[in-house]
């Protein structure tokens, strides 16, 4: 534990980060080591190419979107706090953590997890998932086995199921409503980030 504390002191704003994300000191240190390991050229920050170097990630159909989620608002540079903040979305929900009524919701609350997913779909950030955006996502996930028409049918049907105000796009509220029955806490959490 002694080494943890000394490394912890090297990380800027570690205390605030822990407070904000809910990670334990051990996690923060582990993530910091990983951050440093990904930063091959020792730049002090991460860029999209560093993510591209991760082998398994390249095989993931939606890898570019995920990388895009890290580098939001067009930045080319990812610092450690942002790295941790994004990963914090995937912490399991802990019911015991005291909720301060004045503070904003925890990063790993159900609503924030859903928002993260929504932003992955909504590339142009207009607050709605349009048919085209959905089609793109489906295309990457179902690459080889379905034809274009079938993709379009699936996309149409998906929108039809969720779209309540019939504007042919899914807003965040509609998205949240359609995911009511899904166990997000389970499906959007990674165990070792507890």
């Amino acid at each position: 534990m002694g080494s943890t504390n000394s490394t912890l002191s090297k990380i800027p704003n570690a205390g605030d980060l822990m407070q904000e994300t809910g990670f334990s000191p051990a996690h923060i240190v582990r993530l910091y080591d990983r951050y440093k390991a990904l930063d091959k050229d020792k730049k002090g920050h991460l860029c999209p190419q560093d993510f591209g170097a991760i082998k398994e990630l390249a095989m993931n159909p939606i890898s570019d979107r995920i990388i895009g989620a890290f580098f939001s608002s067009g930045q080319e540079v990812l610092d450690f706090p942002s790295f941790v903040r994004i990963l914090a979305h995937f912490r399991p929900v802990d019911k015991n953590r005291p909720k301060d009524p004045n503070s904003p919701e925890h990063i790993n609350s159900r609503s924030n997890k859903l928002k993260f997913i929504f932003q992955l779909y909504d590339q142009d950030k207009d607050g709605k998932i349009s048919r085209q955006e959905l089609l793109q996502v489906l295309r990457t996930m179902l690459e080889k086995q379905v034809t274009e028409e079938q993709l379009e049918s699936i996309a149409d049907r998906t929108i039809q199921e969720a779209d309540l105000d019939r504007d042919d796009a899914i807003s965040f509220d509609e998205f949240r409503k359609s995911m009511e029955k899904v166990n997000i806490e389970h499906k959007m959490s990674i165990r070792f980030l507890r």
Partner: protein
């Protein structure tokens, strides 16, 4: 009470049983003495009663009938009564009644639940059914917890109950018995196992949330491995006698656990592979491919039993592993056949087991009452179950993503039902070595009745009172499935980024391995192409839609509620679904508000009358045999439909449909492809060949004036396409033909692929022709 109709049946059946009993008794006696050859034939017999020929089979069939009738009469009961009593409890009670009748007639229980019959003829199909319908994903993701409960929980139960009873015996609570520690342990081990049959019977009616269900259910299946080992080991110890037990024997016992459990599962997997391989090649014998599942499943049970491994584990894993490949390889009809047959067998067996559990009780021979023993056993079984579950779940919760709540744990403990397996094991005890066998049988029966009847009774109110999270019947939603798929990818990506190996790493690795090697080995090539899960969900939803439309049409008397564009799509859809049991996957995005437009009513109805019903006038709804050559009728109808659709579309929307003549390079026997090429040929009148099938008898009809709406539509080119129609532009004929041979069943999709290839070549060379040439009269 509506028992009245079935009362006579029930009484009649039981009366029949009583009548045959003296026959059986007498006939049995006679049969042993006199063989047919010894009878002095003094005259030519006109009719003889040859009871001994049919005795066994007759009685078996009779009892199956009686059990079935008992289930019927139970089902007819007052619904209030039914909402309290689980069906299994009512069946046991009817067993009591029947047993009473038999005992009254015979003064002995001639029809008991013989362990051999139970283990070899009644149990395997139930377990095969559960394995085949096991929700695999849920099962394997909770496998760790299930194993912990099954192995450690059962061992704890066995040891705790055995030792506590022994302690109480030493303390004198049970009076004088000829029993020792080892026998107590043996008794504890046979009573420790949670019974799958009882669990299914009770939990089925309760609908708890899926995690809770799979924990209890999985535990009840997997603990057989432990039960078999413990039972056999302690049985051997009892025979050896206390003195000969040393560390070596105990170690052998522990080793045998691993051998039995893994060996049993391995046998199950081997048989699953066999079944999958077999179904891969049964394309030509579809009619019997369903039978292979049952035969091989039963063989896996018997093989494991023969090698003294865990038979239940074997059958479970056989079902669990083969379900995916078998469902992909077999024809849809066979899949349905297997599903229903499996359910019939499993349900029938379950009914018989419970009825016989009741019948067996009415037997004065086995009842030995020892208050201390019985009551203490009951107490310990309950208490230690609760303790075991709570402790183990507390440990497991520290490693779980989402902890199991206290309420669920209570239900889990309460759901530790004992059933027929425990009774079967007790009845197969050797009474020479175990003097108190009857006492054990009595106690086991009482424990079984207590858990099934009383705990079953109180389960539903308990679940309601504790407000356990129930599983709500959800409809299938594509958006949830799409998102589930996205979640998997996202979590996988996050794990890669954070550089740790998480749960997803294993699932991903396994999926990759399975996709490349296993499906290549075990699945038919055609089935492999259409495996995408999302797509199958989509297909299922489309089928649901189609069924809904037909039912709606029947209700309203006609298909008039559809607007015109969708009529074509729908008719084509319906037509193909009657032709073979699959449907082209055209999504029917028909919104409610558009369906209500009334001005197309007449037209749609007219259209329907002309085309759909006329072509089908040669066959009834249920009987699809057509006197005219089926091929021709189909082809012509499709041609008609196609051209109507073409003309309508081109007229209304000015879309130029594809006009390419495709001479299919291969001589393909596939009927659909011929249709396709025929249709394409039709579009270009200049290259009209008569090489296709053209039924001269049908020709005159094609020359009749087209239905009024077509002429209207053509003439009225100024009508703007409806909002809905515009949106559905992608499904113009040009694209529609690609969907024609699309089949999502496990059968060949070759036609689809072939149709696809030329189409993609064509589209680049399309030359637009004037829509005005497209009119209904070109035919």
């Amino acid at each position: 009470m509506r028992l009245l109709p079935t009362c006579p049946c029930f009484l009649g059946a039981s009366l029949l049983v009583c009548v045959t009993l003296p026959l059986a008794a007498g006939g049995g006696a006679n049969a042993s003495q006199s063989r047919p050859a010894e009878i002095n034939v003094t005259h030519v017999p006109v009719v003889t009663v040859k009871w001994h020929h049919v005795e066994t089979s007759y009685l078996v069939a009779l009892w199956i009938l009686v059990a079935g009738v008992a289930k019927m009469s139970v089902a007819q009961l007052n619904s209030k009564l039914k909402s309290f009593f689980p069906e299994s409890a009512l069946l046991i009670i009817s067993g009591f009644i029947l047993g009473g009748i038999v005992w009254g007639a015979d003064k002995a229980q001639t029809f008991k639940l013989v362990p051999r019959n139970f283990f070899y003829f009644l149990l395997p199909q139930i377990i095969l059914d559960t394995g085949y319908f096991m929700p695999n994903k849920l099962f394997f993701s909770n496998l760790g917890a299930i194993l912990v409960h099954a192995v450690i929980g059962t061992c704890w139960n066995a040891a705790a109950v055995g030792i506590s009873l022994w302690g109480c015996y030493l303390g004198g609570a049970m009076g004088n018995l000829q029993i020792g520690l080892l026998q107590f342990l043996l008794f504890g081990s046979l009573l420790a196992a949670v019974d799958p049959v009882a669990v299914i019977a009770v939990f089925e009616e309760v609908h708890v949330n899926e995690v809770l269900f799979i924990w209890v259910f999985g535990e009840s299946l997997l603990n057989d491995g432990v039960t078999v080992v413990l039972y056999n080991v302690f049985d051997a110890f009892v025979s050896l006698g206390g003195e000969k037990i040393n560390a070596g024997e105990i170690i052998k016992g522990i080793v045998s656990f691993f051998v039995v459990a893994f060996g049993g599962s391995l046998i199950g997997v081997v048989f699953a592979i066999l079944i999958s391989l077999l179904t891969k090649y049964t394309g030509k014998v579809q009619i019997i491919e369903a039978g292979f599942i049952f035969v091989l499943g039963y063989l896996s049970y018997l093989t494991a039993e023969m090698l003294s491994l865990s038979a239940i584990l074997s059958v479970t894993f056989c079902g669990v592993c083969c379900q995916k490949y078998v469902n992909a390889n077999m024809d849809e009809k066979s899949v349905t056949a297997v599903r229903y047959a499996m359910k019939v067998f499993a349900n029938g067996s379950e009914t018989m087991i419970f009825v016989f559990l009741g019948v067996t009780a009415i037997d004065t021979d086995i009842w030995v009452w020892n208050t201390g023993f019985i009551l203490l056993t009951l107490l310990f079984v309950l208490v230690y179950r609760f303790m075991g579950v709570f402790f183990l779940t507390w440990i497991l919760n520290r490693y779980r993503l989402v902890p199991i709540e206290l309420i669920d744990q209570i239900v889990m403990s309460f759901g530790g039902l004992r059933g027929a397996v425990a009774y079967g094991l007790a009845a197969s005890l050797d009474e020479t070595r175990i003097k108190e066998k009857n006492l054990m049988i009595t106690t086991t029966l009482i424990v079984v009745y207590f858990t099934v009847i009383l705990q079953g009774l109180t389960m539903k109110p308990l679940v309601k009172w504790l407000k356990v999270k129930r599983v709500s019947p959800t409809e299938l939603k594509l958006i949830e499935k799409v998102n589930n798929r996205a979640f998997e990818h996202i979590l996988a990506a996050m794990e890669d980024i954070s550089g740790r190996i998480g749960d997803n790493w294993w699932t991903r690795g396994w999926k990759r391995f399975e996709d490349t090697y296993i499906t290549w080995f075990l699945m038919k090539p055609e089935a492999r192409k259409n495996r995408d899960y999302l797509f199958s969900i989509f297909h299922k939803l489309n089928l649901e839609d189609a069924i809904n439309y037909v039912t709606e049409a029947e209700k309203r008397g006609s298909l008039a509620f559809l607007n015109q564009t969708d009529v074509f799509v729908f008719l084509y859809f319906v037509f193909c679904s009657y032709r073979q049991d699959t449907v082209p996957s055209v999504s029917l995005n028909i919104h409610e508000h558009e369906m209500k437009r009334m001005n197309e009513d007449f037209n749609a109805h007219h259209l329907l009358q002309q085309h759909l019903y006329r072509s089908r006038k040669n066959y009834s709804r249920s009987n699809f045999s057509i006197n005219q050559s089926e091929d021709e009728v189909q082809e012509i109808f499709q041609r008609t439909m196609r051209s109507r659709l073409e003309s309508f579309k081109s007229a209304k929307m000015g879309v130029t449909p594809a006009k390419k003549i495709t001479k299919h390079p291969k001589k393909d026997p596939n009927h659909k492809v011929r249709i396709l090429s025929e249709m394409k040929r039709l579009h270009n009148p200049s290259v009209r060949t008569s090489s296709g099938v053209e039924n001269p008898a049908f020709m005159p009809e094609m020359d009749t004036p087209p239905p009024p709406w077509v002429t209207e539509a053509e003439a009225d080119t100024s009508v703007a396409p409806s909002q809905g129609a515009q949106r559905y532009l992608p499904w113009s004929p040009r694209n529609l033909h690609r969907l024609a041979p699309l089949r999502i069943s496990d059968r060949s999709t070759d036609s689809f692929l072939m149709a696809d290839a030329p189409a993609t070549e064509e589209s680049s060379e399309e030359s637009p022709q004037q829509p005005s040439q497209r009119d209904g009269t070109h035919m």
